[in-house]
């Protein structure tokens, strides 16, 4: 237990010093702000930059509050995931490369604690960023478009948090397995590309971790099919545990690859 605390503190300090604890949340808050604002001011923005001929009228789509929050999540699903992967792709692999790993691996640490300390810190930063961003978006949506019920919003954000933890675990497990570049590539493949495939072909199945974000948005307008929803959550949690075991095993196996 003490070992985990020490490793956790080390990880925390590292992420404070490289400012990840500051800029990752700021990026998510930025998109949480800009999405409701651009939707709200779309007519003015088109007026100012659009160069429309006189008298053009656009039938402006009327956004419902739920749609605006969904749009924010849509931004997170692409740009947000990209930021998370790129920010944390080197969490374990970079330590092997720059020699920090050597300082850690010569001590009799348990690799479970080693992996867990990283998972906790990265997971905390990611969840904090996403929640701050979504809360900002919720606040602004309430201000500009109308109310979204608190219970709906928290069901949505809570469900989405499971997906975020899944993403974080993928990134860390890949970082434990491969060098930084490979970890980034494979994580992006698993997170972004599989998601596109899942949305294209996914009508054939209803239970998958990549459907969690869709189920999350359904909380805003109603509620998802509870059987599919809970099975997806269960499968995702199992996948998270499996990826963590894989990550622990890989960080142990790759420990000898560290540069001295």
């Amino acid at each position: 237990m003490r070992e985990l605390v020490v490793l956790f503190q080390k990880e925390w300090r590292e992420n404070t010093r490289n400012f990840k604890i500051l800029w990752v949340p700021l990026v998510f808050i930025f998109f949480g702000l800009s999405e409701p604002l651009t939707s709200y001011y779309l007519p003015q923005i088109l007026d100012a930059v659009g160069n429309m001929p006189e008298g053009t009228t656009f039938p402006m789509p009327e956004f419902t509050p739920a749609q605006v929050i969904m749009a924010t999540m849509g931004q997170y699903q692409f740009i947000g995931m990209l930021v998370l992967v790129l920010a944390f792709m080197g969490t374990i692999s970079r330590e092997r490369k720059n020699g920090t790993g050597t300082l850690i691996y010569v001590r009799p640490i348990s690799y479970l604690n080693y992996f867990l300390s990283k998972w906790k810190v990265v997971g905390m930063i990611a969840l904090m960023s996403v929640w701050l961003g979504l809360l900002t978006s919720w606040y602004y949506t309430g201000l500009l478009f109308g109310k979204v019920e608190a219970s709906d919003f928290f069901a949505f954000a809570g469900t989405y948090s499971v997906w975020i933890l899944f993403v974080v675990t993928i990134v860390l497990a890949m970082s434990a397995w491969l060098p930084t570049g490979g970890a980034a590539g494979l994580s992006l493949l698993l997170i972004l590309i599989v998601q596109i495939v899942d949305s294209l072909l996914g009508t054939y199945w209803t239970i998958s971790p990549w459907k969690i974000s869709t189920y999350a948005t359904q909380w805003l307008t109603g509620s998802p099919d509870s059987g599919d929803f809970w099975w997806s959550i269960a499968i995702t949690i199992l996948a998270i545990i499996a990826l963590m075991i894989f990550g622990v095993w890989m960080s142990k196996r790759n420990a000898s690859k560290t540069k001295v």
Binding site: N18, F19, K20, L22, W23, L26, V27, I29, F30, L33, S34, L37, Y41, Q44, D47, A48, V83, L86, A87, G90, R94, N98, Y140, L143, L144
Partner: protein
């Protein structure tokens, strides 16, 4: 620019504040850091002149994590 008159700046201000914080933090880090990937002055220009993406690009790619 008349179209921009209707905006209420109190609502939009946070966006600029976030951008400003990112630029300032990135610049402070740039002056303190020992070495970057590529010349420092290029990163300074990137951070200052590219909106929002500049500081992020610096934090992801510019810092040499040694």
């Amino acid at each position: 620019m008349e179209a921009l008159q209707g905006l209420s700046w109190g609502i939009i201000a946070p966006i600029f504040i976030i951008q400003l914080i990112l630029v300032i933090v990135a610049l402070i880090d740039l002056t303190k850091i020992h070495q970057t990937n590529g010349p420092k002055w290029v990163w300074a220009l990137v951070i200052i002149f590219i909106n929002i993406v500049g500081p992020i690009a610096y934090f992801i790619a510019g810092r040499k994590q040694a």
